[in-house]
Symmetry: C2
């Protein structure tokens, strides 16, 4: 600098007048010039084609990180040796952090801002991608990278600990994790939407547009109709379902799963089935889905309906249009709609008499002794036996929403601080008595039964009930448009799937959840769901 | 700018003398000032503690990307639905590219330069980490990111295609991939070391310090001793090994694998076994290893020795010191040393009479009918039957190096361009006739038998023979130091493992391969290997 200053000062001194006032002004001017020159060289105006290429690359990167994390998760939950969480938790936390850092970098913001400005020039798919990514970006920017990594690390560990806690009926083991998961959810709710009550922000995360103000009356309306129905059913004679609990060897059940996947049209070249404690679906893309189940040798229906349920999730993911793959719009659009599909196949189709009649010959072939003398109608009555019980995933279709209401109530109060994590077991037991009239014998059959909280999800459960309500409306519309039951009665689900693909699956995330609901259900109306349950159980129990 | 220039020009004009010469000089000065100011603000001098933290973070990131890629690879090779390569190849290619970009960024170089300058202040572990990372960095900087991604994408696809090609005995299907893999290896060899012949650069990549000048005389010396030995063995009566090919149900073989892993001290809480076409070992860290095997119901020895072989790899990875985990120094130090461990357990221990005597009671229990009337000594002779054959992985210990020599010759000529990929089947058949005297019936039993080329590896095979030579020297030293065979004869491998851990495993990448070899073998001498084979087969065949 000396030379410049020397010369400049000499010049200024020579001119005499402006030696004091000028230097700062000069600097500022020079600085602005440098910035602009840099901008011209390095940040020359983005062009649309270039921006679209960057958009595609960004989404492929998102896919790649997600796939890596999914593969680690899948491995951890299926084939990994038991005592290996440490390394996996490290990998998951770092990789998630890497993606978070990359996605929330200012370049991403600049790209999305540019594309938002040029939204009129984009086609429908690209426009929607930009909208959704921008929304994600704005939200994720609010979450500090270290907290995001902490969340990933915590839930990876918590999932492993939860498994041990459930196996050993040891809530104390899981408690510190539950406490941390509540705290981090509360904190994240503030990042999602600081203007909302924390639980509202979480509900909206899982199903855009929902809130306590939405769910409270939905559940109240449902309870008003279902509780008397359950009471009426309870006064009737229960069907015999003892044959469901004969000895069903896992190996024969595996062959049954293969058959069910075939009936559902799940192409085994693109969809496998594995075995885990808690069944789940994980889809990498529309040509690579994985479902899992759990075989109980004294319970045929458990795995049977897990396979159909998870198969329904897979059908949705695999039905999304090809041109949305490896983008933000691949996969299902919301949890509620995802559950509407899984539960549609599981309950509305899978627990219908025509479906059971269609698959019964194969069942008799696989389980000749266990099903000796059992008719399809008896089987249908058995798998629809409605009775308050302990385990959500094995609850019948009628009492199921009450299991959800218990979790909704507990989450609501955990998040607003009215309930401490350590008091969950007591509150769980109390609500099961109040809502379902059953006594919870231990936490393994109580508040430790589900993996959701261990996975970090709070606000997810209500979408299950919502999905069932959506499904009832879809069935009503489907019945009005096509002949549903004749093909199903022949074991042909292709028309049902085609309808759902047309109205729901193919859109992926291209439409807002509410628009998909409108498309497939019309105006949301919980009464349709209550009507459906009333009709079904009146028929089953001769009410 | 206008104001500044106007004023400056006015000043300059007023002074008259320097109006032409000065502006560029001024700009250069200003530019340097800006850069230095920026450096002071943003790149203040690094401090050692901060640099060490960055070093740890860098290595944890490396671990995380590697773990994500490994999980994708593992999934693809074990449980993924068959027709799902596309999405996985995309994910692998992008993730690998992401890491490559991150690792080869100038910041990494600056960090490693800084730590290299301060190497005297680092402890032994950190110093070695920096050395190895710097070497990786310099090499990787030479590989353009797009070519690196292309390599990852190509090998991910090639692996899937190779499986189909092998299953369908269709070399033509694999040929275009082999061509590309040769071309990319040749190109990469130039990046590894442009001063070397390409195949030398590749050999050095898999075993630092080796070259054609090293392997040519090694193989020549070996051939000189082994070929007459094989001829002598060929003139003797062959042992009966028909009982190895009775019906061994996969389920019973699975239980046998469990037993073998127990004998090897492979803790199932940290090591699983899976089933794949081609057995392999994949270790995430020293507490998370996976081995795989392949069961043939008409061949007991195949899976048995795959399990022991892969178990040997796992023992090495799991024996590396805790303080090297999640760093550049975790895992085995070189391919040759890795193979020395797998082959040590497989051949030197697993095919020894004391070992077979120790495990025979359990084998009789698992396979009572198949092994009725068979003595441990007969079994020992059967699994050591030396006879030229087609499949490398099932070759006996004596003829095995000749299988390697075929591959070495072919790779050498593929890489230097003397051989075209399309001529590989013919050349393979010719060399098998020349070296082993066997006729290759088809490519599935010929040049399509191994996965290595599909995985992108050329220059890897020779390390197998090298590993066997190392192993023979290790056994000689082990026998001089401890009582090897009494505990092995009781099925107790703990002393053998302890010796290998002390001399080889625990160091991981802390020492140079050559120093580990010196530590465990002394001076490298292929004659010890030839002596070992001569002694063993003279005893087996009463030469």
């Amino acid at each position: 600098m000396t030379l410049f200053w020397d010369c400049l000062m000499a010049l200024l001194a020579a001119f005499g007048l402006i030696c004091i006032a000028w230097p700062p002004l000069l600097w500022e001017k020079l600085d602005r010039y440098r910035r602009e020159k840099h901008k011209r060289n390095e940040e020359r105006p983005m062009e649309l084609n270039e921006a679209l290429e960057k958009l595609d690359a960004l989404q492929k990167k998102s896919y790649a990180y997600e796939a890596g994390l999914s593969a680690l998760y899948l491995d951890g939950d299926t084939v990994a040796p038991p005592d290996t969480e440490e390394g996996r938790a490290l990998a998951v936390s770092v990789l998630a952090g890497e993606w978070h850092e990359k996605f929330t970098a200012p370049e991403t913001g600049a790209l999305l801002d540019y594309l938002t400005e040029h939204r009129e020039e984009l086609d429908r798919v690209r426009r929607r991608q930009v909208e959704e990514l921008k929304r994600d970006y704005d939200k994720d920017r609010r979450i500090p990278a270290d907290e995001y990594m902490e969340f990933e690390r915590l839930t990876s560990e918590a999932n492993a600990v939860w498994k041990r806690a459930k196996a050993g009926n040891d809530f104390g083991l899981f408690l510190p994790y539950l406490e941390k998961i509540v705290a981090i959810n509360r904190k994240f709710a503030g990042y999602y939407d600081p203007g909302k009550a924390p639980y509202d922000a979480l509900l909206d995360e899982y199903e855009r547009g929902t809130s306590m103000a939405f769910y409270d009356p939905f559940f109240a309306a449902l309870r008003e109709r279902i509780v008397p129905l359950i009471r009426a059913v309870g006064e009737k004679e229960q069907p015999d379902d003892s044959f469901l609990h004969r000895h069903y060897p896992a190996e024969a059940q595996r062959r049954f799963s293969d058959y069910l996947m075939e009936v559902m049209g799940l192409d085994r070249a693109h969809c496998t089935i594995g075995e885990t404690e808690h069944p789940f679906t994980l889809s990498f893309n529309n040509r690579d889905a994985r479902i899992t189940t759990h075989y109980y040798e004294d319970d045929l229906a458990s795995s049977m309906y897990s396979v159909i349920h998870e198969g329904g999730h897979a059908k949705y993911d695999m039905g999304v249009a090809d041109d949305l793959q490896y983008t933000r719009l691949a996969g299902g659009v919301s949890m509620g709609l995802h559950e509407s599909q899984s539960r549609f196949y599981e309950n509305l189709i899978g627990r219908s008499l025509p479906f059971i009649e269609a698959i019964f010959p194969k069942m008799r072939e696989l389980f000749p002794e266990q099903l000796a003398g059992v008719t399809p109608e008896q089987f249908w009555r058995a798998v629809n036996k409605a009775q308050p019980s302990l385990i959500r995933t094995e609850a019948d279709e009628l009492t199921y929403p009450l299991h959800i209401m218990v979790r909704y109530e507990i989450e609501k109060r955990l998040i607003d601080g009215a309930l401490e994590a350590r008091d969950v077991p007591g509150e769980w037991d109390r609500l099961y008595r109040e809502y379902l009239g059953v006594d919870v014998p231990d936490d393994a059959h109580g508040c430790l039964q589900d993996s959701h909280w261990a996975g970090g999800s709070m606000g997810y459960f209500p979408t299950y009930a919502l999905g069932s309500a959506y499904g009832a409306q879809m069935l009503k519309n489907m019945e009005a448009e096509i002949d549903v039951w004749s093909p199903v009665g022949r074991g042909d689900l292709s028309q049902v799937t085609a309808w759902l693909r047309e109205k729901v699956h193919r859109f992926g995330g291209l439409l807002e959840p509410a628009d998909v609901v409108k498309n497939a259900c019309g105006q949301f109306d919980p009464a349709v769901y209550a009507d459906y349950l009333t009709k079904k159980y009146s028929e089953l129990y001769h009410l």
